[in-house]
């Protein structure tokens, strides 16, 4: 499965890029996070405290146990601070 992964705000800065594409067999968001963490230190750091991370699947807010079936775009970002 090929995913586009987006990062925003300090997650983008820690990981050092705004987006990437990834070929993965992960079945849930949590699996995907484990896979990313294992790749490089910058990912492990960015995802060190998941309470400070939010996720959207195809531009809808989701939970970490949500399945990735049919998903094309995953976005990770900190809690939102608009308004």
């Amino acid at each position: 499965m090929k995913l586009t992964i987006l990062y925003f705000a300090w997650l983008r800065e820690r990981i050092g890029q705004p987006r990437e594409t990834l070929e993965t067999g992960a079945t849930t968001v949590a699996d995907l996070v484990e896979e990313l963490r294992a790749r490089e230190e910058r990912y492990a750091l960015a995802f060190s405290d998941l309470r400070a991370v939010r996720v959207a699947l195809d531009q809808e807010l989701a939970d970490f146990d949500a399945p990735l079936d049919g998903v094309r775009e995953v976005a990770f970002f900190p809690p939102m601070t608009g308004g």
């Binding site: 925003f8 807010l61 976005a75 970002f77 939102m80 601070t81 608009g82």
Partner: protein, 147 residues
């Protein structure tokens, strides 16, 4: 219902006036503006807002739809900037129009509470010392529980 996401400054008075003017059948119009505030100790040079193009517009439209389902509104608008802005500039606004004031007020507060915690915007404060991402407050996430 109007949703706008833009980097350009906007004129709150002109937008609120045009909204009220176009609000056919409304007896009550509520407008809210969020303004860039300096930090408690001063020294804010500018605010930068990052957002998630595509998701932002969808999230704002979904909130406005929910507000129109829950309250008797004749119209609603949300306008939010992204990019760089200076202290004193308007960051965003919401406006609601309704036959009665209770609906207009409740819907405007609902939109603000949801916008704060559920629309993909992130604020960064730039001072002479550097740049800090603004932390989300618990009060903001707690505010959602009242709706």
């Amino acid at each position: 219902m109007r949703i706008r996401v833009q980097p350009e400054p906007f004129d709150y008075g002109a937008e609120a006036g045009a909204f009220a003017h176009g609000a056919q059948g409304a007896g009550a119009v509520v407008s809210f503006a969020g303004i860039v505030r300096d930090r408690p100790g001063g020294g804010l040079m500018r605010l930068e807002i990052e957002h998630y193009p595509g998701m932002t517009e969808k999230a704002l439209a979904a909130m406005a739809d929910t507000a129109r389902d829950r309250w008797n509104l004749t119209d609603a608008m949300i306008l939010h900037r992204h990019g760089a802005m200076a202290p004193g500039e308007a960051i965003m606004m919401v406006a609601t129009a309704a036959p009665h004031r209770a609906d207009a007020f409740a819907a405007a507060e609902f939109l603000m509470d949801y916008l704060k915690s559920c629309a993909p915007f992130w604020k960064k404060e730039i001072t002479a010392e550097g740049a800090d991402w603004v932390a989300a407050t618990e009060a903001d996430e707690d505010a959602l529980s009242r709706w």
